[in-house]
């Protein structure tokens, strides 16, 4: 039963197996999904009561959408590493897979989770928040996709860093905020352009920033994760 495939293929199988393990575990325990859904529903309800039927300018609504997404992500995405630490299974996983396979397996899981969360948030937001109209759907869709990847990438590595800390609940959003600030400012601006009906080319600069952000965060995560994970 020795591994005989190529190293790349084995790494890919390890990564997808870790993703599937987390996925099945989540379906059984509902650790992250419950927290995320409850947070989004509660926050949008509060916003609904606060704004009422008066509405708000597109730039304010765009910013508020990403505030909901940011804090939603903060309430659920750290679970991927924190739950391993709390259950004492971190060492078990260290024994089973190389650090990079763990990082990308967890990143894949967080990505699926954040895309599902964002789809749910946008759906509720569009249905209930008066005045939130997207005029350029292509800009908005790509912003949500790239924003989700960026959020998943930074949330995953930060979760890995804070998992062993005693005050992880507080540390997570505090540490995430400065790292996520460039991403948030860019996605808010791109969402505003989508709401104002800008041409796709006008948002090209934002997309370049988002792609660069993702490349930098994923590369740095890959380089530092060995040290974070092992010691």
């Amino acid at each position: 039963m020795q591994p005989t495939e190529a190293i790349g293929s084995r790494w890919l199988r390890s990564t997808t197996s870790i993703f599937l393990k987390d996925w099945h575990s989540e379906l059984r325990t509902r650790y992250a999904i419950s927290a995320l859904v409850m947070f989004v529903v509660t926050t949008i309800s509060v916003m609904l009561f606060a704004i009422g039927s008066e509405g708000a300018p597109p730039e304010v609504l765009a910013a508020m959408l990403w505030v909901v997404i940011f804090f939603g992500a903060m309430s659920g995405l750290s679970r991927t590493f924190v739950s391993e630490e709390e259950r004492g299974t971190t060492m078990t996983l260290q024994l089973l897979a190389p650090p990079s396979a763990v990082l990308f397996g967890k990143l894949l899981f967080n990505l699926v989770l954040i895309i599902a969360l964002n789809a749910f948030t946008v759906l509720l937001y569009s249905l209930f928040i008066t005045g939130f109209v997207i005029k350029t759907l292509s800009i908005f869709s790509l912003t949500i996709l790239l924003g989700s990847i960026g959020l998943a990438a930074s949330s995953t590595i930060i979760a890995g860093i804070i998992a062993k800390a005693n005050t992880k609940g507080t540390l997570y959003p505090v540490l995430s905020f400065p790292i996520l600030l460039p991403l948030l400012l860019t996605v808010i601006n791109a969402t505003r352009l989508a709401a104002e009906g800008a041409f796709f080319e006008e948002a090209f600069g934002e997309f370049q920033i988002l792609v660069s952000y993702i490349v930098v965060v994923v590369t740095v995560s890959y380089l530092v994760f060995d040290y974070i994970w092992k010691d």
Partner: protein, 207 residues
């Protein structure tokens, strides 16, 4: 298969506190390495370093090169049982073993998994979630978990903890059998856990 586990000048310190230093040994197939020492002497720390889940502050742990090429990462060569190593509670015993293989990119062998779980006395509970098990039952499943990928090196930290008499007998059989084909490393305070050893590392003398 000719495998050697070679530790050279190992030192581990947490901040400024040195746990042990100048620890060196070589263990080969059909040998039992005993790691002894009082509480806090670093037995578990040394075992974790051998399993490659913790880095030494100084020194190296190496495997004979041919063996490494055959098995890939050191974690693929090691089976590990310890009271602080946890299984996934929300999965069944069988699912834990399947997962141990799929995450290592190996194909799960259903009949071997059944055979292993029967061997550790868990035949009737293999499809129950681990959260429903007693600590002794979990310890039994950990042995199956450690052996499922046929590791040539078996690392046991406090091997008899939580086990009843029958469980202790089962572990002795596993140890005897593993010694015939691989390297057995046992870290314990209780010298009755192990009848015989070939190499002894005394961490009381390694400060």
């Amino acid at each position: 298969m000719d495998i050697h586990l070679v530790a050279r000048n190992l030192k581990k310190a947490f901040n400024r506190r040195v746990i042990f230093q100048d620890v060196s040994f070589t263990a080969g197939v059909q040998q039992i390495l005993l790691i002894a020492g009082r509480n806090g002497s670093g037995k578990s720390t040394l075992v974790k370093i051998l399993a490659d889940v913790l880095s030494p502050t100084e020194g190296t742990v190496d495997l004979e090169p041919r063996a490494r090429a055959m098995f890939g990462a050191r974690s693929n060569m090691v089976g590990f049982v310890a009271p602080y190593m946890m299984l996934y509670d929300e999965f069944t015993a069988r699912e834990n073993l399947q997962m141990a293989l799929t995450i290592r990119a190996m194909r799960p062998d259903k009949s071997y998994i059944n055979e292993l779980l029967s061997r550790v006395g868990m035949a009737n509970r293999m499809d129950d979630q681990v959260r429903t098990f007693s600590s002794g039952m979990k310890q039994r499943v950990k042995y199956a978990f450690a052996l499922v990928h046929h590791p040539p090196i078996l690392l046991l930290d406090e091997p008899m903890s939580n086990l009843d008499e029958e469980g202790i007998g089962m572990v002795r059989d596993i140890m005897d059998e593993h010694r015939q084909m691989g390297i057995l490393v046992v870290a314990t305070n209780d010298l009755t856990d192990i009848h015989h050893h070939d190499i002894r590392v005394d961490l009381n003398a390694a400060h």
